[in-house]
């Protein structure tokens, strides 16, 4: 019986020219800017969650910024990304604005989902963010579906599914892998392995530390990479996107990273008896932004003062967004029944 098992591995080349191939200077600065924007925006959001000004649940992405920055910069504006409950980073890196993000967090009419969604439902169709979903693993089939549409429309676009390690445990992940493989869908599966699904460590949920093998049974090329190394993420993502765009089908990247704060909310969760302080500290030391900062300085692509200025600029943008959100009205009551069904 013939199966779909021919496989061209787009990642071999990545390994071959790993450190040698420099990501060009402008792009490195852009990656840094994006990551810093995610970081500062979320630190601010964490404060707002602490004071309860943000009432919806907030799943912080702090520590994982390299993944969305590295992946989204490998995409065109029209390429689609599907996110999860933890998608502030995906939203900002794909081109979503700070104002609609903060307004959404505050439940305002100017929010990206007009206040209906909250932190877990972010959208900006103008830059390839068709929506995020907090149902674990639901981003996976939707991205494949978007890829199917891209393929049928022959529009040359690629869809990306962001999802966590936990999402690989839902049945729909496996169903989607089969369909993506047999139809050579232009989709990239980005698994952000932060080693926890809420408070469950990966080692209690999986027999082996072999998430990157998840593609193998379906002959989907896959690789395990350092999700805290933004340049590595970018290189691999570019290869995966190229692979998809040229009609060679899906691929799977396990990006190993870590979420600094608790599963939901701003707390650090040092003392829940779930993860050890040393473990968190080890990962804090591997901060993806710090790592790139050092490289930028070493390459003399940026100076300390450039970085300070950039940070200030970003902080100003964030304060502007927050002020905008605070001044915005709540959604009007008469809009309540709108868009339950399509209006014509």
């Amino acid at each position: 019986m013939l199966f779909h098992d021919e496989m061209i591995d787009p990642f071999q080349a990545c390994q071959a020219f790993a450190s040698a191939s420099a990501v060009d200077a402008d792009l490195q600065v852009r990656l840094y800017t994006l990551m810093l924007k995610c970081r500062r925006a979320e630190e601010r959001a964490a404060e707002l969650a602490e004071t309860r000004e943000v009432g919806c649940p907030v799943h912080l992405y702090l520590g994982q910024e390299a993944v969305s920055a590295g992946v989204c910069t490998a995409l065109k504006t029209e390429d689609q990304v599907f996110g999860t409950h933890r998608s502030h980073g995906h939203f900002l890196c794909k081109g979503g604005g700070l104002r609609p993000l903060f307004a959404e967090l505050l439940g305002k009419a100017t929010g990206c989902a007009r206040g209906r969604g909250g932190s877990m439902h972010l959208i900006d169709t103008s830059c390839g963010i068709p929506g995020t979903t907090p149902i674990v693993a639901a981003s996976i089939p939707m991205a494949a579906g978007a890829a199917l549409a891209n393929k049928m429309k022959k529009n040359g676009l690629v869809a990306v599914a962001f999802f966590g390690d936990g999402a690989t445990e839902e049945g729909v992940f496996h169903e989607t892998m089969v369909m993506a493989a047999i139809w050579d869908l232009p989709v990239v599966f980005i698994c952000e392995n932060n080693f926890y699904a809420s408070h469950l460590p990966l080692k209690d949920r999986r027999k082996r530390d072999n998430l990157a093998d998840a593609g193998k049974p379906y002959s989907i090329p896959s690789a395990r990479i350092d999700g805290n190394n933004v340049l590595e993420v970018h290189r691999y993502a570019r290869a995966a996107v190229e692979h998809a765009r040229s009609g060679r089908g899906p691929s799977f990247l396990e990006c190993r990273t870590y979420r600094w704060r608790g599963h939901v909310g701003p707390a650090w969760e040092w003392n829940l008896g779930i993860r050890k302080r040393e473990e968190v500290e080890e990962w804090l030391a591997r901060c993806p932004i710090r790592a790139l900062e050092q490289q930028l300085l070493a390459q003399k692509l940026m100076r300390e003062e450039d970085m300070t200025a950039l940070r200030q600029k970003i902080d100003e943008e964030i304060e502007d967004a927050l002020a905008f959100a605070r001044q915005s009205p709540y959604p009007a009551m008469d809009t309540l029944l709108r868009h339950v069904y399509v209006e014509r």
Binding site: F3, K108, A113, E170, R208, L272
Partner: protein, 493 residues
């Protein structure tokens, strides 16, 4: 041990058209499962491999996966004319028919003569013919048996605490945990099964501390796999255990809907009482927290439409404990629906071992002017509305349904007959909800007594939005309940 019978076809779809990877068996590789592909039409090969696999399963810890390549001789089912398969391929497979192969081999090895084999074949044919004839002569199953064995019989007798019983003030979550601990203490067949239930103590902390007391063997963390959680729980219940599964938010029960509604709910009935699925699925429903459309839903009234399931929705800590005790002791699949907004509420719980009956509503406030019928957290809102209304001179009676399946229609109808007016309050969307069912039932049972139209307070027929303003507008509130009561009373003759 998993046996995948790869017959090459899923109805009319050839396997290779819809399968990825080198083989089905190789999927085992990603999960550390031993796997092998064998010739499923060679009964001796199957036997040897299965025997080896059983040894491995018994002696190692790894499950095994055997992919047996075989062929479906006929169409998929009666209506399938089998017109879509390549005739050459079909001939090839038919030539390797497992019976013919074994027959030829036996003869070749001279383990039997052709006459011996034919005798066996004749005997089997005769057996089947006789059985069929006998079945044809049996009468059809009597119609009334269609209504039997929807639920398993065994429930402990209801045992309400006497009014004089000592009580302790307990939180809702605590009452639930105590009922769980009692079951785990009493009988080692009980275990807790779900996402984050062990170290973390469950998303809403109901099982906090239980890991220490019972260990990892009985407080079992699962992967993020709702269909698997309920599916395995059903299997474990059929295998003689008494699983208590937790689904983190009621919204996610949809991911396990097949296991719950097509299996847990129906097996006892389909197999005419030969199997039982003593399974309790605990799950919290409800909004009022800004969690948005996928983390706020109330599917209690949806599940009451699935015969075979018990649906229990306690409001008070006392009911939570007394009802859960009964559910845990019973033999039916139960969805025990908790409410996020209630976990912290505190109330008196008798110190005696109270078993409350399923399907008995409770009057939680007496009044003469109008009946408010509600369940779960809506009872809290009704009580507050009743206080408001009392200041206006309206005495509302409140019926807490406590349990939706079985549903106590009589208590509601009696109360409505007494007050002559009824408002039903539920948190789920209006259309085809609890209110629709109760209103229909009450007009059947007490039409002549009603003096005002039956009105409903429910969520709007929209998804639940996240923004606090919008969420408040969509969900029931004290004000909305009070206003609806006023409206009902205003129409009174």
């Amino acid at each position: 041990m998993y046996i995948c019978e790869n017959n090459g076809w899923a109805m009319s779809t050839p396997a290779q058209e819809v399968s990825a990877g080198r083989s089905f068996a190789r999927r085992g590789e990603a999960y550390g499962i031993l796997y092998k592909t064998i010739d499923g039409n060679d009964v001796e090969e199957v036997f040897d491999n299965v025997r080896a696999a059983i040894t491995m399963v018994l002696h190692g810890e790894a499950p095994t996966l055997l992919e047996c390549r075989t062929w479906r001789v006929k169409g998929h089912s009666r209506s399938d004319q089998n017109l879509y398969r390549d005739k050459m391929l079909e001939q090839e497979w038919l030539a390797s028919d497992p019976l013919q192969r074994l027959r030829a081999e036996i003869l070749q090895r001279k383990e039997a003569t052709a006459a011996d084999v034919e005798a066996v074949e004749a005997k089997v044919r005769q057996h089947i013919g006789a059985a069929l004839e006998k079945c044809r002569q049996l009468p059809p199953a009597p119609a009334q048996t269609a209504f039997e064995k929807v639920y398993a019989p065994a429930y402990p007798a209801a045992k309400a605490a006497p009014a004089s019983a000592a009580v302790e003030q307990k939180a809702y979550w605590q009452a639930i945990q105590e009922a769980l601990c009692e079951a785990l203490d009493r009988d080692e067949r009980y275990f807790i099964f779900g996402e984050d239930v062990a170290e973390y103590g469950g998303c809403f902390k109901v099982t906090r501390g239980m890991l220490k007391r019972y260990g990892k063997g009985r407080i079992v963390n699962t992967p993020v796999s709702e269909a698997g959680i309920i599916g395995l729980a059903v299997g474990a219940a059929m295998g003689g255990l008494r699983p208590v599964a937790e689904i983190m938010f009621m919204d996610f029960i949809l991911l396990a809907a097949d296991q719950l509604c097509n299996h847990a709910a129906k097996l006892h009935y389909i197999y005419n009482g030969q199997v039982k699925v003593p399974l309790v699925v605990r799950t919290p429903m409800g909004g009022y927290r800004g969690y948005g459309a996928t983390h706020s839903q109330c599917f209690d009234s949806l599940l009451m439409k699935v015969p075979g399931l018990r649906v229990v929705t306690p409001w008070s800590p006392r009911d939570a404990k007394g009802l859960l005790r009964t559910c845990l002791a019973g033999d039916d699949p139960v969805v025990f629906v908790e409410h996020k907004a209630l976990y912290g509420t505190i109330g008196p719980v008798p110190t005696t071992d109270e078993y409350l009956p399923l399907g008995q509503a409770a009057i939680v406030r007496e009044g003469k002017d109008i009946t408010l019928c509600a369940n779960s957290y809506m009872v809290s809102l009704c009580l507050q509305a009743a206080e408001l209304l009392a200041r206006e001179g309206v005495q509302a009676e409140i019926v807490d349904l406590r349990c939706l399946a079985p549903l106590d229609r009589d208590t509601v109808a009696k109360s409505a007959a007494k007050t002559q007016a009824l408002v039903i309050v539920e948190e789920g969307p209006l259309t085809l909800g609890l209110g629709a069912e109760i209103a229909a039932s009450v007009q059947e049972l007490a039409f002549g007594y009603l003096d005002a139209p039956i009105l409903r307070v429910a969520a709007a027929d929209t998804p639940v939005p996240s923004a606090p303003e919008l969420e408040r507008a969509v969900l029931p509130s004290v004000e909305k309940i009070a206003a609806t009561v006023r409206r009902a009373l205003a129409t009174r003759g």
